[in-house]
Amino acid sequence: MSLLEVRDLHVTYAAASSAPVPAVRGVDLTLDVGETLGIAGESGCGKSTMASALLRLLPKDTEVTGEVLLDGEDVFDMRPGRLRAVRWTELAIVFQGALHTLNPVRRVGDQIAEAIRLHSSGNGASPAKRVAELLELVGLPARRASAYPHQLSGGQRQRVLIALAIACEPRMLIADEPTTALDVMVQAQVLRLLADLQRDLGLAIIFITHDLSTLANICRRIAVMYAGRIVEEGPNDRVFAEAAHPYTRALAAAFPVIGDPRFRMNPSGLPGDPPDPRDVPSGCPFHPRCPEAIDICPRTQVELWPAGAGREAACVHVSGSPVAT
């Protein structure tokens, strides 16, 4: 059994002044123990909505259908108490914007200790000792436990959030744009930390980002989302090096390889903008921007079809597509 299994997840936001907005439109995912999965996509593609849906963190009037199985137990059927426990001890989440997640008037050590007191089974070391261990594990001196959030830099606050997320020894971590607001050097530090934790603690990680280039080094598998669905999935090295979906290809080209003459003085992008979830194009939703679109694309329901060993892509051009091209 997989650690996490998501089946046909749909999320539709209620909107006051318009029709309901379908943000996630049918996502299937699996994650095994200790595995790393990167989810890449641009703003509005539904990646963060999907992450929040996995832990039922969305507003009450949001319509969510499908199944999210954590060790075989459906998250959507859990009672509130069970769900709260699961959020700390099974599947923790780290969001972007470390500034707003911590309580500004409490010392960071106390915030971590509280989580341990409330949610850990209570055996083992004292909370204070465990706080010190956790801070050192994420690369902060233990004495920083007495600091308030404003006394820490952005990178240090992000480390505290990671310490908080792993405080109750979850087996799985969702990191939603964990390095987006950080500088490149600090970003490299946090990425290295996540990779170390993954290796040392055997954490399974879902890493969500708009920045493809940060995924390549820490995720074994990568899924690319567009307009609320996964359009390509496969092993990380193959997905970037020889993308099967034209959108992945364009996205990869938007992150130039320094030193590669193909990118020199040659910025690459796509015409148009990512689609508005309120108004998703017919057929393959990528067809209006696709350089390889053919006449059947606007009216063909694309699905994830086999696209080589361990790979799938939702494009009529892939080898496993049932549609003649």
Partner: protein
Amino acid sequence: MNGSRRPLLEVRDLYVQYPGGRDGPARAVDGVNLDVYEGETLALVGESGCGKTTLARALMGLHRPTSGHIRFRGEPLSYDRDGMREHRRRAQMIFQDPTGALNARQTLYEAVAEGLRVQKVQGNEEGLVAEALSRAGLRPPESFFTRYPYEISGGQRQRVIIAGAMVLNPSLLVADEPVSALDASVRGEILSLMLGLVRQAGITVFVVTHDLGLAWNVADRVAVMYLGRIVEDGPAEQLLTEPRHPYTRALLSVVPETKQMEAQVLRGETPDPTRIPGGCRFHPRCPVVESGEAARLGIEDKCREEDPRFLPACHAVRLASDDEHEAYVHQR
């Protein structure tokens, strides 16, 4: 390669300080010397807090230097009313966030025409606005005249900003992180547009970015800034593939887009511009010092005590190139 060309901008011993708190002023720009040549695209790269935006704003006349000066075609910037009005026609700036840069209650036509009116440009205003929008890829331009910023996408907003800048036929375009607020698939189109327009018009571009890949995409020359000072500059191809300063090397090594280098993750954050370390300002984080390499070369004290004055601003690089020079002379 720049020998025959004239500098459009000459920055000399430029210091810009912000009044600070307990620790004294923040030395945002702290002794910068830089030439920007006519028609080139120069990328200024560095981490946040290194002073790159302050330097860009100083080039626009938005900050008055604490000391030092900036010359534009050989003439020092004049900060009086007339001097600034003239400078704001020939030098245009575009910002990171196109939404914040547009007035939400102004139509796109008004947004582009405003510069023409402020500068009292003669001629057919409607024709000029239409041409600028069209060149920025907003076609047919008339269909955008009466629209408001909230009705168009982020990429289109940045196009409107570019149209507003280009309509005045500037000689210099200062672009501060022009695409970092945009989606990845949209960025390339905006950069291509900028590249095309400036080449056509022979405009000089000063682009500020934290993104080294962007520099590889658009820049002729790259200058690297650390804690208020330029530490290395050179032709983009050379600097980005054979960096010499240890800071440039570290910065490039952590960019996932460069595969051939082993990641050299520096510890700590970008230090505080109110407390710039003495000696070489990079020494507390420098891998050459930390690894003991500087001690082996017998320059560790120098790194801690002496501010390197020549580029690349590194005592170890300097020593190596002296050795190379000596070996070369010896061979002859």
